[in-house]
């Protein structure tokens, strides 16, 4: 049986770009949620969001002057930064001209890409000026633009594709790549996901009235997973990336190993049995966790910590119930649980991958990062699990197995298990 390990990571998150800044931000509970003047100008109800702050000159390190020409796809920029960083972190190099690396592929998801570029194109088309679109309107706006750019920059010759399953995209990409490596079809897969910034991505959620509206003057307190005063998720953006590799290949290269991926499960509630386009079928969530444990060949008592989906809506308590039921663990026997969304908001398609990077950092740094903004834990949660299992501060802890789940619109679920690597 082949084993799959993580040998490199990169991240472009609202509260930190690069592994050092991101892990330090998570450790300190630093918020990436900020007031967004543009959203105020456009009269959004929710005028805050969490987006990565790129320093001047950063893009030039990742893109050629030609690629930068007319580049107006923020998710693509975040994804390339995270993806190239992960590749370098794994000690891998770009393939030389002439020959791609047949054993390395890319599975990098997104929800919608290059929205600002698409807006530009729409204006030109409507002004009868289609001839002025230029050559990159297509690749900046096609969903697979992100895997196509990364594939070209790195020279990958295995499967190069993009998955899309709403807010479970990033976690799903890890499991899809796991299958590809386990089956022997690839030795290395750069996985991850990205999501654009901006009013055209976030507007639809504001219209659904599922974003917090009372925190425009107090952005860092707006994202409140598991809190009694949670009032909706804070929209976010960014990208996370992981290099997944067969253990054989990693050992052969003498690569550093962050953690092992044990497997997991992906499913859907079929928008039946209480599940809808926007709400999960609870039985499906539990099935996803139970089948995931079976796939990973672990038992629930072996799980030391959970990084939930936990977006800061009224559904958080239901998610806790689902974990508790699926693991058959409650009160003090329940594992530690946290949600990075209290700091990075809900990065939509990028959420799963950014959070997977955070989970693996917890294993690598021997820490569990604290939850912020949930001093007032919802009573429907404390009635199920002990409040001591919801750490409010980062603490040292040598977890062996951490579970990560992400759920998405369309009633889709993904649950993956990461383990400390022991040879």
């Amino acid at each position: 049986m082949r084993r799959v390990v993580i040998t490199g990571m990169g991240v472009c998150a609202p509260n930190g770009i690069g592994l050092n800044d991101f892990s330090e931000a998570l450790r300190q509970g630093k918020s990436g949620v900020r007031f967004q003047p543009k959203l105020k100008e456009l009269q959004f109800g929710c005028q805050i969001a969490a987006n990565p702050l790129l320093k001047e000159g950063v893009k030039e390190k990742y893109f050629t002057p030609l690629q930068l020409r007319g580049l107006n796809a923020s998710g693509l920029v975040y994804g390339v930064i995270a993806g190239v960083d992960a590749w370098n972190d794994a000690g891998l190099s770009k393939s030389p001209a002439g020959t791609p690396d047949w054993d390395s592929g890319i599975l990098f998801g997104t929800g919608i890409l290059g929205v600002d570029k698409f807006r530009e194109a729409i204006y030109k088309v409507d002004e009868h000026n289609v001839r002025r679109l230029g050559s990159t309107a297509v690749m900046q706006t096609m969903a697979s633009g992100i895997s196509a750019y990364l594939g070209g920059i790195l020279g990958c010759g295995n499967q190069v594709t993009t998955n899309s399953s709403a807010c479970s995209t990033g976690t799903e990409s890890v499991l899809m790549a796991y299958d590809r490596i386990i089956s022997g079809n690839a030795e290395r897969m750069l996985v991850g996901s990205c999501s654009d910034s901006g009013p055209y991505v976030w507007g639809g959620f504001d219209a659904m009235r599922i974003l917090p509206r009372k925190y425009n003057n107090n952005p860092s307190e707006a994202s409140r997973p598991m809190s009694e005063t949670a009032s909706g998720f804070v929209p976010g953006s960014g990208a996370g990336a992981l290099v997944m590799e067969s253990l054989e290949s990693a050992l052969h290269r003498n690569a550093k190993i962050y953690a092992e991926v044990l497997g997991g499960h992906v499913n859907s509630g079929g928008q039946r049995g209480g599940g809808t386009m926007t709400a999960p079928n609870n039985e499906a969530v539990q099935q996803c966790i139970i089948k995931g444990m079976k796939n990973a060949d672990i038992e629930s008592h072996e799980i030391d910590a959970i990084n939930g989906h936990l977006t800061a809506t009224s559904k958080d308590a239901a998610e806790i119930s689902n974990w508790s039921e699926a693991l058959d663990l409650k009160e003090v026997n329940f594992p530690y649980i946290n949600s990075f969304k209290s700091m990075v908001g809900h990065c939509l398609a990028a959420a799963g991958s950014i959070e997977c990077v955070g989970v693996v950092l917890q294993l690598a740094n021997n820490q569990i990062f604290g939850n912020v903004n949930c001093e007032d834990i919802h009573p429907d949660i404390t009635s199920q699990i002990a409040s001591t299992k919801i750490p409010l501060k980062t603490f040292s802890f040598k977890a062996d197995i951490i579970a990560k789940a992400s759920f998405g619109f369309g009633d889709v679920n993904a649950c993956v298990f990461f383990k400390r690597y022991i040879d």
């Binding site: 002057p65 030609l66 020409r69 001209a97 002025r132 230029g134 050559s135 990159t136």
Partner: protein, 83 residues
Amino acid sequence: MNSEKYQKLKEIIALYLPEDVSVNDITEESHFINELNINSANLVDIILDVEDAFDIMLENEDMDQMQTVKSAVEIIETKLSNK
């Protein structure tokens, strides 16, 4: 060859050259795709840049004829003289 227009065109082309081709490799006779190894998709961008730089508009047939640096300069000159 009008050196001012030629120089301006060379500056436009420079951005689109692949890594293994330098600006010094550009000559009047250079073929955009076969000799300068410019990605054919980028020819569209070169044409848009030329339109902006010279304040002209190129038709489809002009684009078809713009195979070499020399033919591009000739088309630019014709367009400018017809303005």
